[in-house]
């Protein structure tokens, strides 16, 4: 095998197995950074060896063995001062057994996800850690998606990995008593990557947009690892419903198109079907949660492709449920918009005015929703002012232009 062929094979293995290899290596030592180093060393060796000797039968097992040997060397060096002979023997024996069985090694990615989203880890580092260790994404690309400098991101990641190692954050699946809370940290970290990528831009190839797709990949990984966790199913359904509309969010001339005006023919029906299927699976578990409700709301919007209408009364109810499960201004705003659509605009305005002004002073969705409700009430001058305010609170040119157009409609 020549070098380009070896390169291609390695890329293939990395794409499919990086997270599993890192998770396996790290779960035994508690050292994520050490696992990554050992694996990248093994990949270098593979490149040199495979182009000469040809591909091994089981490339993953080959990499794992090489990485394990590297880990053992590293331990030996670190442990000079320590009496770690017994431990080293254990590690060596384990590496041997590993090499013998080898084509199937345990999938420890779930544990790795829980380590990345451990409450003892800086929340700002959780999503980047997942992207890097589970999906194998380079830190420079993560940095551009999060709009921070590569060195700042690298530092954040290094610090988190040091903490994992030196504080012994355990690689384990949480007990039932703590499950819901711990899984919510994992889900939040995935969703924050998705929204950061989704809300931002129309540019297909931008780093934040790629981040949204990476978040979907993490969501898929979690569902694959825990196929019966209703909120994981709900989160993936939510993301896929949004992904399904990617081609409809902007018109060919770059104009922003609001959800209820999107051309449903441009929605991806396969993604919608997949989302609906996930949501059904989640519902069968009979354990409602925030992400399932949010996905259900998106499911109603998706139904417009078939029925031609939107059941706003049902959406208002779902937002009420959401306000109980995940109180926040997002669900209050969503409910108000839905109420305005079913002839309850007075109530909607009241609800919006019940939110404290300082919380919404710079919150674009609030001002857009308020404008919308005021328009329904035919308070056009106030609606225009609110659309203008919303327009001045967004950083996205297409959305800003859209809101200014709406404001102009009210004159």
């Amino acid at each position: 095998m020549n070098e380009p062929a070896a390169h291609a094979t390695i890329e293939e293995v990395v794409r499919h197995s990086y997270g599993r290899l890192v998770a396996y290596l790290a779960a035994r030592t508690g050292d994520v950074a050490g696992a990554e180093d050992a694996l990248s060393d093994a990949l270098m060796r593979a490149l040199a060896r495979w182009s000469v000797d040809g591909m091994p039968d089981k490339p993953e097992a080959w990499l794992l063995r090489a990485a394990r040997n590297r880990q053992i060397d590293a331990f030996r060096r670190q442990a000079v001062r320590q009496d770690a002979a017994a431990f080293l023997q254990q590690v060596a024996a384990e590496a041997e057994t590993m090499a013998e069985r080898s084509d199937e090694f345990p999938d420890e990615r779930l544990k790795l996800l829980f380590v990345c989203a451990h409450p003892g880890i800086d929340p700002a580092a959780r999503t980047p850690l997942m992207l890097q260790t589970v999906l194998g994404i380079e830190s420079a690309r993560i940095a551009s998606a999060f709009l921070v400098s590569p060195s700042a991101m690298e530092q954040r990641l290094v610090r988190a990995k040091q903490k994992i190692r030196s504080a012994a954050v355990p690689f384990r699946v949480p007990e039932p008593a703590e499950w819901d809370e711990r899984v919510s940290f994992v889900l939040d970290a995935i969703y924050s990557a998705y929204t950061a990528g989704w809300e931002s831009v129309s540019d297909e190839s931008s780093a934040p947009r790629a981040l949204a797709r990476d978040a979907v990949a993490l969501g898929r990984t979690l569902v694959q690892l825990r196929p019966q966790e209703p909120e994981a199913l709900g989160l993936l359904a939510l993301m896929l419903h949004c992904e399904a509309r990617e081609a409809a969010r902007f018109a060919d001339d770059g104009r922003f198109v609001p959800l209820d005006e999107q051309d449903t023919a441009r929605w991806s029906q396969p993604l919608i079907r997949e989302a609906e299927d996930l949501l059904r699976r989640a519902a069968a578990e009979r354990k409602p949660g925030r992400f399932q409700l949010e996905a259900a709301i998106q499911s109603i919007h998706a139904h417009r492709a078939i029925s031609g209408t939107i059941d706003w009364a049902e959406i208002a109810l779902l937002y009420e449920g959401l306000m109980r499960l995940a109180p926040g201004i997002g669900s209050q705003i969503g409910r108000a918009v839905a109420l305005a659509e079913i002839g309850r605009a007075d109530e909607a305005l009241q609800a919006l005015e019940g939110i404290s002004t300082e919380r919404v002073a710079a919150h674009q969705p609030y001002w857009a929703a308020r404008a919308h409700v005021l328009r329904r009430l035919e308070r056009r001058e106030e609606a225009r002012a609110a659309f203008t305010r919303a327009a001045s609170l967004t950083e996205h040119p297409a959305l800003r232009a859209h809101l200014f157009r709406r404001a102009a409609d009210e004159i």
Partner: protein
Amino acid sequence: MKYALLVHVPPSHFEQRDDAATVAAGRAYGEALQAAGIFVGGAGLGSPRHATTVSVRDGKRQVHDGPYAETKEFLAGFGIIDVPDLDTALEWAARHPLADRFSVEVRPLLGAQFASAPKR
């Protein structure tokens, strides 16, 4: 893994902690750590008002009355425990009788990951 549990409290606590309930709760907690076989050491600390701080600069000893720095919170006590991982240490920290009013900082001891073999 050995961890220090560091109990941080506001200065006012040092004047209020001699009541029987607080003392009894502290003692019970120490006994629970021992019974679990994880207690390495620890103690309650006197008031920072009685602290004296020493440093040596240019070979000269400098001594001043009071704690190292005037802060809003002071160390009121510490315990060192030997447990498998951070989650177990956090469980014990959460059980500390002052954790519901003040804060318990959990810090690994330096080099503590070498002290016991990593679990499988």
